[in-house]
């Protein structure tokens, strides 16, 4: 937070001097704007903040931020960021990645960062396509997607990224949408306050290779009917007048409720011990149900880096040994 040595930072102070080079109209611009807004709101210190990315359009992100930045290699950002964070837990470490980077080539690092609960904020820009390599289907593209590498439609089934993060033990799992700037900024602020891995999936429009991927959700005319804002402690309601809701049946299947049944709408608890409600929302069909945004899950759990630091401190308290003694440990003998 603000101190006397550091005058308050404005949003523009988080912008680097590099020209932003995404395609005009790309959803990445609004995400960049939301991140800068959130950082200004949180008064993040530039020198304490590190942004680490992999490869892809989204991974150009660090160049546009006046913080420390490391644009690494495809898929490995969570692994590199783990080393950064463990070596210096004081740093505020962010990972910026995409659906190809995090879910395909880097899938292993993504799930293991979640499993360990390393203190990283992972922003995954999901445009459901490979943009940088000019338009192949990605692991989040819908089945049947026609692209340059799938002229007859892709045969692959897509991941549900939120479900994957939940399954991997994610302790903070959320979703935002590029064009819902204020909500996204708020979600990023909340992610920043989490201890442990905070994962935010961000629906992002690639207007060049997958334009309109989220049109059916985000168009002004349908938005109210199609987006469900998750609010802790509030029932799952949506629609302009909050006149529709989501309830769960006895098999934990979601069902739509309205009218006299509206009272059965499930009261959202993002801190629920069981991941089942979050999983049910993460996997429900986008065609039948609205798209939930906001925080799916938030659980407190000791972080990986805290555990590492604690073990080392305990080891140092238990045993002090000079280098000489270390080398001479065990059986030694003298020759005169």
């Amino acid at each position: 937070m603000t101190t006397s040595e550091h005058p308050p930072l404005a949003k523009k102070d988080y912008k680097s001097d590099q020209e932003v080079r995404w395609c005009p109209g790309c959803g990445d611009y609004s995400i960049l704007n939301a991140v800068q807004g959130a950082f200004a709101k949180l008064q993040k210190q530039l020198h304490q903040t590190v942004i680490i990315s992999g490869i892809g359009c989204s991974s150009r992100f660090p160049y546009y931020m006046e913080t420390f930045g490391f644009h690494t290699i495809h898929g490995r950002a969570p692994a590199i960021a783990t080393g950064v964070k463990v070596a210096n837990p004081e740093l505020d470490v962010w990972v910026v990645t995409g659906d190809g980077d995090a879910m395909s080539i880097g899938g292993n690092h993504f799930i293991h960062a979640m499993r360990r609960n390393v203190g990283l904020r992972i922003l995954m820009f999901n445009n459901r396509i490979y943009g940088l390599t000019k338009g192949q289907f990605s692991p989040t593209s819908e089945q049947g997607k026609v692209t340059k590498s799938s002229p007859l439609g892709s045969v692959d089934y897509p991941f549900a990224p939120i479900a994957l993060a939940l399954g991997a033990g994610g302790t903070f799992v959320a979703r935002g949408i590029d064009i819902l700037g204020a909500h996204l900024e708020e979600t990023i602020v909340r992610a920043s306050g989490h201890q442990g891995t905070a994962y935010v999936e961000i629906y992002q429009n690639c207007n060049i290779f997958n334009d309109g991927a989220y049109k059916a959700t985000t168009d002004k005319e349908v938005r109210d009917q199609r987006i469900l804002y998750l609010q802790h402690g509030q029932p799952l309601l949506f629609g302009a007048n909050k006149d529709r809701g989501i309830a769960f049946d006895s098999h934990f299947q979601p069902c739509l409720v309205s009218g006299p049944d509206l009272g059965k709408a499930f009261v959202w608890d993002e801190t629920s011990e069981s991941p089942a409600p979050a999983m049910a929302l993460a996997t429900m069909s986008e065609a039948e149900f609205p798209v939930p945004v906001g925080v799916f899950r938030r659980r407190e759990k000791p972080t990986f880096e805290a555990g590492v630091v604690q073990q080392m401190a305990a080891a140092k308290a238990r045993k002090q040994e000079s280098l000489h003694d270390l080398l001479h440990a065990g059986e030694v003998w003298h020759v005169n």
Partner: protein, 627 residues
């Protein structure tokens, strides 16, 4: 019973020898490695020079009693300076027919065969693929055979032990060890202490093991089968304090020593792999020295996390073997581009692919030199003995932080698991390692992450968290100085040349090469890595025969020492023995246009010094003919 051998042995003959080679061979479950290890420690403590060669079967345990399940441990000890664990053993301890089958052919003629007869039933013979009992068909003639039913003897000795028969049988290796301790006039006290420490929480196991050892000792002392004990006097060694050390231990200690001297914490990112895992095990027990170990989800995450730690301002290290190196290649390229210090330990094993994980080889040299996309030079060092591995690890850290680049250290399975007495260094005399982090900046100017030190060309090490140093780096080509993305043709050519020059500059620091023998002559035997011992032994014998032959060893493979070319040109012929198909020989031929002759062996085994000597004798003869 007496534990001082000198008080017992004179009752029988005592003969002096200057060296002995013993090989313990048995089933994987017979404890041969532990037995060999105990004999080694004892012998080192008694002042002999010693060299060892554990030869493991494949990691997955083959069925008991079969040939693929045989595990062996060879050791050689002497009253003079030795360089190898020896070629053919003088004494073979064979715990079962399979061990006999595998190892008998290498036992010296007239050598002693201590044969456990407990498992010579028809089924045991069949498992070892013997049609007939080798004890009765003349197979064993020509050797001094001592047959002992180790199981029966051990069970007798442990009659009062609470252990069941299975537990008792597991002590039979200690019975055999006791016999050898008597035969070779060894002190049993170090083993008593070691076993008591090892099984601290299981007193009945300690008691049984020690009882078995003492019973074996007493058996050898009293039965008529053993007529003579042998004595090998201590070797003259350089004065100082010694301990026994294995290569993986030495690499770990070298890293910690460098970390302490540089005041730079170590972060090891690693994924378990044979034969490098011991480095991960060992370093994970050094948390009190500020070492962080991270067992990553895969080899790539292992190196990636190490790069992240270096970026944060610790010393990133990753340890692996060949298949893991292949997976790390792209990330090593990132460290080259980002110009971050990184130490990569490759304990080589027989490849390609999975190959033979427990067998040794030096075939990853080209991979270390060139196994990355683009023009991607790194420093490459090689350890040549277990003790040398300490210095090499230390040197790797010095180079990595001074020049801000990755350093690959090549060891191999033979160095990793072999052991030798190690003259402990004086910690105050270890060369200083200076680490300079870029200082905070408050003048508001843009920090230049690629502004280089004019002498070394190293870029500043700018830790996140330092006010005023915010900057962006990455694997994408960048403008020298600013570090901004740059696809400019001239800049790329300049950056490729600069990264190469940085590696080349390391040669400015290197001491001149030392040679064993004069710096000119008929033949120079040049070596790198683990063949050092065999090369030294062969060269010394040929020198004693009056030949003009010398040998020299390369610790630095990239860059090469500046005086190497002149040294090579001082000899009529240069022979380069390596456990690959001639990789360094090819590099040197290409680099210097000198006719370096490769002597290659790629069978998963170390060189035998006698094979080398025979080859070099031919080379020397040819060189005479040329004259």
């Amino acid at each position: 019973m007496h534990t001082d051998p000198t008080s017992n042995a004179p009752q029988k003959g005592l003969q002096d020898l200057d060296q002995v080679v013993i090989r313990f061979a048995g089933d994987s479950g017979d404890g041969m490695q532990l037995t060999g290890d105990q004999f080694t420690r004892t012998t080192a403590l008694m002042g002999n020079d010693i060299a060892t060669f554990p030869d493991f079967p494949a990691e997955i345990r083959a069925p008991a009693g079969t040939v693929p399940g045989v595990s062996a441990f060879q050791l050689r000890f002497s009253s003079f300076d030795i360089h190898t664990p020896g070629d053919a053993p003088d004494v073979l301890v064979a715990m079962n027919p399979a061990a006999l089958k595998v190892h008998l052919k290498e036992l010296k003629k007239d050598g002693v065969l201590l044969l456990n007869t407990a498992s010579f039933g028809a089924l045991d013979l069949k498992k070892a693929k013997y049609d007939k009992d080798p004890r009765s068909d003349g197979t064993l003639s020509g050797w001094r055979v001592i047959e002992v039913d180790l199981e029966a003897r051990t069970r007798e000795a442990l009659a009062s032990s609470p252990l069941d028969n299975r537990g008792k049988d597991r002590c039979k290796n200690m019975y055999a060890l006791g016999i050898l301790y008597w035969m070779f006039h060894r002190d049993v006290a170090p083993t008593e202490k070691a076993i008591a420490d090892k099984f601290k929480k299981k007193p009945e196991i300690v008691e049984a093991n020690l009882l078995a050892m003492k019973a074996g000792y007493a058996y050898a002392e009293t039965t008529e089968v053993f007529q003579t004990a042998y004595r090998v006097s201590p070797a003259p060694m350089r004065p100082g304090t010694y301990r026994n050390i294995q290569g993986n231990q030495a690499l770990s200690l070298g890293l910690v020593a460098a970390s302490k001297r540089a005041n730079l914490p170590i972060f090891l990112g690693s994924y378990p792999i044979t034969p490098a895992s011991d480095i991960l095990h060992q370093l994970s027990s050094y948390k009190h020295h500020g070492v962080t170990t991270f067992q990553a989800e895969d080899e790539i995450a292992a190196v990636a996390s190490a790069i992240g730690a270096s970026y944060s301002g610790q010393l990133g290290v990753t340890s692996t073997s060949g298949p893991g190196m292949a997976l790390k290649a792209e990330a090593i390229g990132l460290a080259v581009m980002a110009e971050l210090p990184l130490v990569i330990l490759n304990v080589q094993r027989a490849g390609p692919s999975t190959g033979m994980p427990t067998k040794t080889q030096q075939a990853d040299l080209m991979q270390a030199m060139y196994g990355r996309n683009g023009e991607c030079p790194v420093a490459v060092l090689a350890a040549s003995t277990p003790g040398d591995a300490f210095e090499v690890a230390y040197e790797a850290v010095r180079i990595a932080v001074k020049y801000m680049l990755p350093v690959i250290v090549l060891s191999d399975g033979y160095i990793a698991n072999g052991s030798e007495p190690w003259l402990l260094p004086d910690v105050d005399r270890l060369p200083p390692i200076e680490v300079k982090f870029a200082p905070p900046s408050s003048d508001g100017s843009k920090f230049q992450p690629y502004q280089r030190d004019p002498a070394t060309l190293a870029r500043p090490w700018a830790r996140p968290g330092t006010p005023g140093l915010m900057h962006r780096i990455g694997g994408i080509e960048k403008k020298d100085g600013t570090g901004n993305i740059c696809y400019d043709a001239d800049n790329h050519a300049h950056m490729v040349a600069t990264r190469a020059k940085k590696v080349a500059n390391i040669a400015d620091d290197l001491p001149p090469l030392t040679t064993f023998g004069p710096r000119t002559g008929d033949v120079l035997v040049l070596g790198w890595g683990s063949p050092r011992g065999a090369i030294t032994a062969a060269t010394q014998r040929l020198q004693q025969q009056g030949h003009r032959i010398s040998c020299a060893f390369l610790r630095h493979l990239n860059p090469l020492p500046k005086d190497l070319e002149a040294l090579l040109r001082g000899f009529k012929q240069v022979v380069l023995p390596e456990l690959n198909s001639g990789q360094l020989a090819m590099l040197l031929r290409a680099r210097f246009l000198i006719d370096v002759q490769s002597y290659s062996q790629v069978d998963g085994q170390p060189f035998k010094s006698h094979d080398l000597e025979a080859h070099l004798t031919q080379v020397l003869a040819a060189s005479k003919e040329v004259k």
